[in-house]
């Protein structure tokens, strides 16, 4: 069974509540049980949950319910606000040292992803801050850890400093920094070996490195899938090293990532980055509000919008809209569109960002093979230019030829053409301002009041943006 989102849980509880002007204590108690369970289910530490629930209850009892909301929605709003608040409110940035090089230490348990993250971070800094990083291989314990960092360095075309596995990590760190100064590198990333927070010897080693390297940042790298123990790990590392920030890895999995909340509330240190993919550019700044939504299972509309803005070419989008109006949308545009969407990342991730979609029954089973889009593309590319421009001429014999050409079975070709025609019809309707066709598109995705609320919220945000743009134009 997949996890139910908090939204669904709360919705169930909400149906029991009658519409009132004020949130009563009984309402809060009922809802708080659901909040508590949802948070525990998301691996948030039980102590953190307890504190959190108490805080929210206090704030919730007696609040005036806003006009547009039901008591349940009001509580969700409070929960969401508090959660965002607890996670740091704003996006944190990297501390750079006034006098280069800036030194950063990566620490954490075994298998958290320190080495990969070191590579990703170096890549990120080069791209976004014009830094010239040097990677320092100070993991002398795990076999081939140094080679791993070197391979990553090769992939990124970035220098890696290493002294083999017979020299103490403290010395490696020191020499690494000297090397950076000599070669004019302004950012040093020290990759340390994974260790248990209860391993005194190795923890002392880290403290020694810290003393010598005097880092501007010590990043604790934590696996987002970590369970209740995340608190102990984070607390222990923080007490012994006074970490400056946290990087959450493997967030591209299907975990809720409640560990983020636990760590933040136990250490008080900001989460600065999240790793969400195997490629070396899959590192993003951490957004507390988005993480709050994820933990609650509320979807992540903001990221979706941002991704769309980033990756979808505006001019192309306008052309597309024009085509839709004229009803001349053809297979060439279809491919264009597919490429644009796929540049936003895996489709199932995009879908999951839509509020309400997270809780759709069966969606947890929805898995889209990236190969599927490639296959669709192969089919379209097997059509002649004429066929692509004028899909109506594709006869049965042409379909057979397309199937052979693309190496896909005939049924798949038929299915694609059918889908294309249907989406064309729907888009045509939509472009004429008739959104009823949309119902079918999202099924009962964003269902109930909550879905509506999310949609309204989005609409409001869009309006604001529009206003801003208009103002700017003025």
């Amino acid at each position: 069974m997949a996890f139910e989102g908090l939204t669904e849980r709360l919705q169930n509880a909400m149906t029991k509540l009658r519409r009132k002007g004020k949130v009563s204590e009984a309402d809060v108690k009922e809802m708080m049980r659901e909040v508590r369970l949802a948070l525990l289910e998301a691996d948030v530490n039980f102590k953190v949950v307890k504190e959190f629930v108490n805080k929210v209850s206090e704030r919730a009892v007696g609040t005036e319910v806003l006009d547009s909301l039901s008591p349940g929605q009001q509580i969700i709003k409070i929960v969401n606000d508090e959660l965002t608040d607890l996670m740091g409110g704003e996006t944190a940035t990297i501390n750079f040292s006034a006098k280069p090089p800036t030194v950063v230490m990566m620490v954490g348990l075994q298998g958290a992803g320190k080495t990969t993250t070191a590579g990703k971070l170096a890549n990120y800094l080069r791209k976004n801050d014009n830094k010239r990083p040097l990677l320092v291989a100070a993991d002398i314990y795990r076999p081939a850890a140094i080679q791993q960092l070197q391979t990553i360095g090769d992939q990124l075309d970035m220098p890696v400093f290493s002294m083999g596995d017979q020299v103490s990590p403290v010395e490696i760190a020191q020499k690494g920094i000297e090397e950076a100064t000599r070669t004019g590198r302004d950012f040093v990333l020290i990759d340390t070996a994974g260790r248990l927070h209860i391993d005194d010897n190795l923890m002392t080693e880290l403290a020694d490195i810290k003393q010598i390297a005097n880092p501007s940042e010590i990043f604790l790298v934590v696996d987002a899938m970590t369970g209740q123990d995340a608190v102990n790990v984070a607390k222990s590392f923080n007490e012994q090293l006074d970490i400056s920030g946290v990087i959450l890895t493997k967030l591209d999995g299907d975990t809720r990532g409640g560990a983020a909340l636990s760590i933040r509330s136990v250490t008080g240190k900001p989460i600065k980055f999240v790793g969400q993919g195997e490629k070396l550019d899959a590192l993003d700044p951490f957004h507390p509000d988005r993480m709050a939504n994820r933990i609650l299972g509320m979807g992540d509309m903001l990221t979706l919008i941002e991704k769309a803005q980033q990756d979808i070419d505006e001019k192309k989008a306008e052309e597309m809209a024009e085509k839709l109006r004229e009803n001349t949308f053809d297979f060439n545009d279809f491919i264009d569109q597919m490429d644009q969407v796929s540049s936003m990342g895996p489709l199932e991730d995009i879908i999951k960002m839509i509020p309400g979609m997270n809780n759709m029954p069966g969606l947890d089973q929805l898995q889209i093979d990236p190969q599927d889009t490639a296959r669709m593309k192969a089919i379209v590319l097997s059509m002649t230019p004429k066929e692509r421009e004028n899909p109506d001429i594709i006869s049965q014999s042409r379909r057979k030829r397309i199937a052979r050409g693309s190496g896909r079975p005939l049924v798949e070709v038929n299915r694609l053409i059918k889908q294309f025609n249907e989406s064309k019809k729907m888009m045509n309707k939509m472009s004429k301002g008739n959104f009823q066709g949309m119902d079918g598109l999202f099924g009962n995705g964003a269902k109930g009041k909550l879905g509506k609320m999310a949609m309204n919220q989005m609409a409001r945000k869009n309006k604001k943006k529009k206003k801003k743009i208009i103002r700017k134009k003025k």
Partner: protein, 338 residues
């Protein structure tokens, strides 16, 4: 002696049989118990704390009980089931004192544990023929290290072991396995970094057969269970093995990190679906993790935990004794409740 009997005896005070437990057995489990010391201690002490504050059986009590279980990573579903069952039980039996409640809780947990049959825990080694063991899991759980530890054990037993470097994706993974192969004295079959892992597996199976190896360990790249294409790649590797050795792979071991939370269950479910996992290796149990997930996996998926990793050194991979583990979890409680 079954777990249930042992606990029953503890309750009824019939301890005669227990003293007859062979001494060797206690010696072999000594290290194991030491490794799990933290796990046991925290669980018991939390339970004791709960009972120390016990006044009456009310909603608050159940909430606290839920927290104790959740904190031990017992798993959300199992926790809910236990507390739900207890609510019923309490209604029926109406226990008054602290001891009654405690007894009801332990009985219920043992019940749930006994209910779920988790299959055979031994590794199915073939006599006089090649046994192929495939290792799967998400990134960073310790697959390669586990292979090294297991290879070391079998080599000490006099088996001829081959290793296949099926992780062609992660930087340095092949080198890591090669270093281990050298240390434990097992030949490593590897391909190019970034190459097709299935072809490495094919070569390895062929070579292991030609050279009459007893066991072939196949390492794979870590993959998150929600990446469809990567899971398909795993299926392909498995197919390649079955083609060469019809009844292989003889074991598919899912390596799980004991510090993982609820996601461990999803991992187990997904990997089971694609590769028909036959057993679980639970690594990093020597941290402060509670390992309650053992209960959840057994309950929900019926996959046996076959090995547990209790430390960094070569000998720290131990066969898993679930009865000892669960008995250990409760032993202090039982003593108190007598």
């Amino acid at each position: 002696m079954g777990l249930f009997d042992r606990i029953k005896q503890a309750f009824t005070g019939e301890k005669q049989e227990e003293t007859q437990t062979p001494i060797e057995q206690t010696e072999t489990t000594e290290k194991y118990e030491k490794g799990l010391e933290k796990t046991r201690k925290t669980f018991s002490s939390r339970m004791n704390e709960l009972f120390a504050n016990f006044r009456t059986v009310d909603e608050d009590f159940f909430e606290e009980l839920e927290e104790v279980l959740i904190e031990s990573d017992v798993g959300f579903e199992v926790t809910m089931e236990i507390t739900e069952a207890l609510r019923q039980e309490v209604k029926l039996k109406n226990p008054k004192g602290k001891k009654d409640v405690q007894q009801v809780i332990i009985e219920k947990m043992v019940d749930i544990y006994e209910e779920s049959e988790a299959g055979d825990r031994s590794i199915a080694l073939k006599e006089d023929d090649l046994t192929i063991i495939l290792f799967v899991g998400v990134n960073g759980v310790g697959k390669t290290t586990t292979i090294a530890k297991m290879a070391h054990q079998y080599i000490t037993e006099g088996k001829k072991v081959f290793l296949a470097a099926g992780d062609t994706f992660r930087a340095g993974a092949i080198e890591q396995l090669e270093v281990w192969g050298e240390r434990v004295g097992a030949p490593v079959v590897s391909g190019k970094a970034g190459g097709d892992p299935a072809s490495v597996v094919f070569d390895a199976v062929k070579r292991a057969k030609e050279e009459n190896a007893d066991i072939l360990f196949v390492d794979t790249a870590g993959r998150l269970q929600n990446k469809v294409n990567l899971m398909k790649e795993l299926e392909k590797m498995k197919r390649v093995i079955s083609k060469e050795v019809p009844d292989g792979p003889h074991e598919v071991l899912l390596v799980l990190d004991a510090t993982t939370g609820q996601n461990a269950l999803i991992q187990a479910r997904q990997f089971k679906e694609t590769t028909n996992v036959t057993g679980i290796v639970l690594t990093k149990l020597d941290g402060t993790a509670k390992g309650g997930i053992v209960l959840a996996i057994r309950k929900e998926l019926g996959i046996p935990v076959k090995y547990v990793g209790l430390g960094e050194s070569m000998d720290d991979l131990q066969e898993f004794e679930p009865n000892d583990f669960v008995y250990g979890l409760f032993s202090e409680l039982i003593k108190d409740s007598l």
